[in-house]
Symmetry: C2
Amino acid sequence: MRKMGIKDIAALSGVSPATVSRTLRNPELVNKDTRKKVMKAVKESGYRPNRFGSSLRTRQSGNIVVVMPDITHQVNAGIIRAIESEAQKHGYSVLLGDTQGLIERERHYADMVNSGQADGILLFTPRLPFDVDPDQPLLKQLPPLVSGNETIPVEGLCRVSVNNTAGARAATEYLLSLGHRRIAAVLGASDAPSNQERLDGYHQAMDEAGLQVDPQWIVAGDYSTDSGMAAMEKLLKLRQRPTAVFCFNDDMAIGALNVLHQYGFAIPQDISVMGFDDIRYAALMRPALTTIHQPLEDIGRAAMQLLLEQLNGRQPKNNYVELPFELIVRQSTGPVPLQGESE
Amino acid sequence: MRKMGIKDIAALSGVSPATVSRTLRNPELVNKDTRKKVMKAVKESGYRPNRFGSSLRTRQSGNIVVVMPDITHQVNAGIIRAIESEAQKHGYSVLLGDTQGLIERERHYADMVNSGQADGILLFTPRLPFDVDPDQPLLKQLPPLVSGNETIPVEGLCRVSVNNTAGARAATEYLLSLGHRRIAAVLGASDAPSNQERLDGYHQAMDEAGLQVDPQWIVAGDYSTDSGMAAMEKLLKLRQRPTAVFCFNDDMAIGALNVLHQYGFAIPQDISVMGFDDIRYAALMRPALTTIHQPLEDIGRAAMQLLLEQLNGRQPKNNYVELPFELIVRQSTGPVPLQGESE
DNA sequence: CTGAAAGCGCTTACAG
DNA sequence: CTGAAAGCGCTTACAG
């Protein structure tokens, strides 16, 4: 039993291939009775239009590609899941582009749009992996594209994210409100826009509180748990230890928590720890992690919706969608310890 | 600047489209100098062959589809990442099929193979979402397919997983070796083959130790953290409490840990908790979770390799790949408490 | 409302 | 080693 083609269905239902095609794509153009005959043949034969035949004609693949550095991170996984759901709802399939942080892979996935394999691209990486002519307007040279999370700051580019600066500021202000003054910051990946934005937020809050930031309180990290551990080790060695540590994501905060336990510190009595993201396991830590919640589903859905608008030929009126974060207070943060205040 | 086609490149390099095609697909068939001319034109123009033109001719999409119930679960995410990496290495792209546990979505993704949108399918769900004629040999009716993790037990079907039974048995034996006799089991999703397999392993170990299993020790769950919490609550209400709890995955174990903390139990002094999977956060819990490690990368790679063999027209000699699990002893398990032994 | 025909961009058996 | 030609399965402007 060879695979059915549109001609087979046409023969089966006694119409032309054109009419079969119309019945499937634009039923309103077809007489009701004809339609019925065709649908019957389609049903009985289990016919599925070959995607490539149609893609070749219509020049639409029905695919989009999602590019992320690491899909095993909760944040990315949550977002792509929402994207996929929304994409499916609108008839699009999702090609997975896990770059493992490699630029050549970013380009590989970008090529899928160039080769017509995908109609649009969702970028959760901090770079534009396209060759562009610097003399031409940039936007005109790009395919339908949305930048999410690690939002690429290009004028007019469609972007979706929480306000990282405001989020980090809220986190820092919360720690300040608990009486903390010596608040350390553990940074994320240095090439990530989100990292710079969160750092800005931290500094804004500290400035406004009239506090001088000791450079030793700012410790490098890369958003990994290991880097959170290393950063915490470093902070513990300082002569004047911070009383609170704001890690720029939950994974690092979880690393910090582990180091503190290892050295026998009580959290939050001795030292407060705060994260960012609100991954699923944040609430399950001991103590449960205070953090800034990111609405992953909303981010994914909004990104897909922005892309859909472009795919439908509309330039979205609002090209930057900022989604609300939320301060989630749990048990890893508490009032500044007494000696911390006075010291 | 319209998109370049193969004819454009042919014109640019002064050869026929056929030769351009050969240069790109079977360079060894083409004279070296001709090849050079063509490659030069390809480079300069940035030409990418249109995937649909070629797919239509060759009847190969170059895509595979991966079907999983929930990509936000660490286990699935780790596996799909390895799949993607291996797929890319061999020129395949990965279509993401997150089913959210819905059968209609499983069928939707299965349809991608039927419509030629994907050449093969990797199934991490416990069902075959294909219509088959029960009078015909099953395998002949299926596309290139590999079943992973929730391995569908069909004779001859390509499958990849750890030996869940042996893993659960090793876990239970380990708890027995610590002196535990009242060992509870918190079950996973009831429709998951892995759940039944792990339950078998648990029973095997208990039987061989000559222990009667109190039915109350077997508590339903669904692999979610919440279900782990509910199960633990239930177990704590038993007149004769178990001294060890073997949760059939880490998420449930983490839930159990939280409930125990909440009620003030010391782990493992009062009660031991064990998981299965060894997700990234297992090691980061307090106490760190003793568990059975699954080699996610190996599973993903092996699954893809089995699929590749089929895609290349070979029926793999070995249609079941069993990967080694590993008992990871951490701090959530310890010797049976004294009163537990005597009671 | 329906059909015949052209053509999307590629590949490959065939001929030379 | 290379080219001309046919055709993969579909869609759609055109004609009726």
